[in-house]
């Protein structure tokens, strides 16, 4: 008998937990706030910037620890800095666009 009661309680708890979002009142709209394609584009730019910046950071670290010699460093740092600058510029453009 206890078994049946406990089992029933579990089932009821499950139903309640599942129905909670429908029972609770909320001011949010029911539509899922998924990222828009504009947001996607922004996201891609931010990731581009972060990628460029961390590549630079890694290059600096590798240079400091002697893994990359001065010659290679000078050759590699230029393009990376330009890439980072370009990414930051693109982001600024989007920012300006936004405001």
């Amino acid at each position: 008998m206890t078994g049946l009661i406990v089992g029933a309680l579990v089932a009821v708890a499950a139903v309640v937990i599942v129905s909670l979002p429908f029972l609770l009142r909320s001011d949010e709209s029911d539509e899922l706030q998924l990222t828009t394609s504009r947001g996607e584009a922004r996201m891609a730019l931010v990731e581009e910037r972060d990628r460029a910046l961390s590549a630079l950071k890694e290059l600096e670290f590798d240079h400091r620890t002697g893994k990359i010699d001065d010659v290679d460093y000078r050759e590699l740092v230029g393009p990376l800095r330009r890439a980072a600058a370009a990414a930051l510029q693109a982001l600024d453009a989007v920012d300006a666009d936004r405001s």
């Binding site: 078994g3 599942v18 429908f22 909320s26 899922l32 706030q33 996201m43 893994k67």
Partner: protein, 652 residues
């Protein structure tokens, strides 16, 4: 109480199904409340599964023999800890463990990421729900742990060799590993379903993958140690299908852990990463199918069971689903950049991946070969140990070498001259080590010598990295805590090297001989002088029958001094079994390993004596491996802030 368990599993099934169906509808129709509801269902599913697990655990501890499962796997005289761990001793219990871990991981992953990655999560929920539905279905309809019977007086008990601390930890660790691979898979599927195939899903699941991989790796080492100590044939891995079933997903996951680094930095290999994660996940399912269906001859004979067929079906469905998803999203997975040079870190990672996948496929081929030959030839043929050992060397040794070279190559490209510059010291170290080893006699085994030399090379590169890094940052602690991924990774590499040295030493350079001794006789083997002192005969009677233990006492001197005992146990109910005698010489990390092979006429005993150099490095490597993994996955507050900022910005 069994009804509670059964009811809880039915509820779990319903919740998992709801999470899958409602979650899909919510994602398609962009309905927030339905999506939240589906997500709640997944969490509740963990709750009800926990209830079922608690019921089984309680029944086991209380020796409730009205549960068929409890009666089959425990007995009254079984110590409580083993009664509890009998939970995963049988099929139904291990399925329940699987579902518990799956819903636990799933609920946690989904709740932690629900705000940050809501776009992904709306699709991750139905994927996890779908997988959970399968397991819950199996549990309530096909293999229930809650079948009852009229109360038995006592249970069947647990085989003595399984009553062992290793067997307490080994299965749950493996499960935390296997099942953990579901999370990155679910997120990958979610990424493809939602169309957000950038690095978000990788960054979110990186730690999950690491945790699963860590448990799976350590769990296997525990299993190997158990086999070495308990099963007592002198080895620790037999390329048995059940062992391979855990190794293959681990290898695929290792490849995946490396290749995601390329995607994070260069935006390349997106398709490859999707394929790899699906491969690793499906391998974990397939492995379970192989071991549970009885389709393959294995020394671990689980009863040929009905769940094998169901698992095969699930593997097929899951594989088709993964393939279809990847093909559908191929346009989105195009790389942004290309590989610039065959001598770059990206290329090194690529070679690493190819070798790992090649090794995985080799083992896979060896696993299914018997099935294929049975189908096509009518006779099943098995690949022997030499096949696996051969390919382990062919692919494994280059991998060791790459472990050393890879970290020293720069991203994008490195000039040959710069690379050789950095490699000068490690190569010198390796050559010196090689020469020293040949002088010390290691030339007797070429693969062994190569393994040792490559290991010396890699260790030198790792030390070099730490030295250089410490010089640049000032302290080792600072260095590691600011570059956790990288230096945690190096520690893991060091663990692998220790492992390789241990395996090479204990296989390529081991001594294994039979000696026939009478009480008082002595013999010498490889630096050890052993004397057989006498035999104890211990008879005992228990509920299950009678047994006689023949315990041989030996003393030894030479490279180490001491005594050891090794036994042959003759049980009327079980047959013969062995308890091997092991002496660990910590100074050399080597073991003196003695098996009481046979009792002969006239008081003589045939002993099998092994000297296994460096074998203990393998077990040490396991702990270093865990430590390195923990360093690599330790939370980094800065990284988290960056991710949050990125997403906040994207949202506007």
């Amino acid at each position: 109480m069994a009804e509670v368990g059964r009811a809880a599993l039915v509820v779990s099934f319903a919740l998992a199904l709801y999470a899958c169906v409602a979650g899909t509808m919510a994602a398609l129709g962009r309905e927030r409340r339905l999506a939240d509801s589906a997500r709640n269902a997944l969490v509740a599913c963990f709750g009800s599964t926990l209830v079922a697990a608690a019921v089984l655990a309680t029944a086991l501890v209380r020796h409730d023999f009205t549960f068929e499962y409890v009666a089959s796997h425990t007995s009254r005289d079984l110590p409580t800890i083993y009664s509890l761990t009998a939970f995963w001793g049988g099929e139904e219990g291990s399925l329940l463990l699987w579902l518990l871990v799956l819903t636990g991981y799933g609920a946690l992953a989904v709740m932690l990421n629900r705000k940050l990655l809501s776009d992904l999560i709306v699709w991750v929920v139905p994927v996890i729900g779908g997988i959970a539905t399968f397991f819950a279905f199996m549990l309530f309809a096909v293999a229930s742990p809650f079948n009852t019977q009229t109360r038995a007086i006592d249970g069947a008990g647990l085989v003595p060799s399984l009553q062992n601390p290793y067997m307490v930890a080994h299965p749950p660790m493996l499960y935390l590993g296997y099942v953990g691979l579901t999370i990155p898979f679910a997120f990958a599927a979610g990424a493809m379903l939602s169309g957000q195939t950038d690095e978000r899903w990788i960054v979110a699941t990186r730690r999950w993958t690491l945790v699963a991989w860590m448990f799976l790796g350590f769990g296997q080492i525990l299993g190997a140690h158990w086999a070495y100590v308990e099963v007592g044939w002198g080895g620790y891995y037999a390329w048995d299908p059940v062992e391979n079933a855990a190794l293959m997903p681990w290898l695929a996951a290792t490849a995946f852990l490396h290749s995601v680094m390329i995607q994070e930095r260069k935006g390349m290999l997106k398709v490859w990463n999707m394929v790899l994660v699906a491969f690793a996940f499906n391998l974990s399912l397939f492995g379970t199918f192989l071991t549970r269906s009885g389709v393959i001859e294995s020394i671990h004979s689980f009863a040929k069971s009905s769940i094998g067929g169901w698992f095969l079906g699930m593997v097929v469905v899951s594989t088709l689903f993964s393939v279809a998803l990847i093909i559908w999203r191929l346009p989105l997975l195009r790389a942004r950049t290309k590989l610039e040079s065959p001598l770059s870190r990206e290329a090194a990672f690529l070679y690493n991946n190819l070798l790992f996948v090649a090794l995985t496929l080799t083992i896979f081929w060896g696993e299914i070969f018997p099935i294929l030959t049975q189908l096509f030839e009518g006779v099943s043929r098995t690949m022997g140990r030499p096949y696996f050992d051969f390919f382990l060397r062919v692919f494994g040794l280059p991998l060791v070498l790459l472990m050393g070279i890879g970290p020293l190559i720069a991203w994008r490209r490195t000039s040959v001259h710069a690379l050789l510059n950095t490699l000068v010291w490690p190569i010198a170290a390796a050559l010196a080590a090689g020469i020293a080893l040949v002088i010390a006699g290691a030339g007797s085994s070429t693969p062994g010598l190569i393994a040792y030399t490559f290991s010396a090379f890699v260790l030198a590169t790792i030390v070099l990295e730490f030295v250089r890094g410490t010089r640049a940052t000032g302290s080792v602690f600072q260095l590691v805590s600011r570059n956790r991924r990288r230096y945690g990774g190096y520690i893991v590499h060091a663990a692998i090297v220790l492992f390789v040295i241990g395996v090479a030493g204990s296989s390529a350079y081991q001594t294994n001989e039979y000696r026939q001794l009478r009480p008082g006789d002595s013999t010498t083997l490889d630096g050890y002088h052993l004397t057989y002192n006498g035999l104890q005969r211990i008879a005992s009677v228990s509920e299950s029958g009678s047994q006689t233990q023949y315990r041989a006492l030996l003393s030894f001197s030479g490279r180490a001094h001491g005594t050891l005992a090794t036994s042959l146990i003759d049980s009327s109910s079980l047959g013969p079994s062995h308890q091997v005698g092991i002496h660990t010489n910590w100074l050399r990390a080597e073991d003196l390993y003695v098996i009481l092979s046979q009792r002969l006429d006239g008081n003589a005993i045939r002993f099998e004596i092994l000297v296994k150099p460096l074998v203990n490095l393998i077990w040490i490597a396991g702990y270093v491996f865990v430590f390195g993994s923990l360093v690599a996955l330790w939370p980094d507050a800065q990284e988290q802030r960056r991710l949050v900022a990125r997403l906040a910005f994207a949202r506007g």
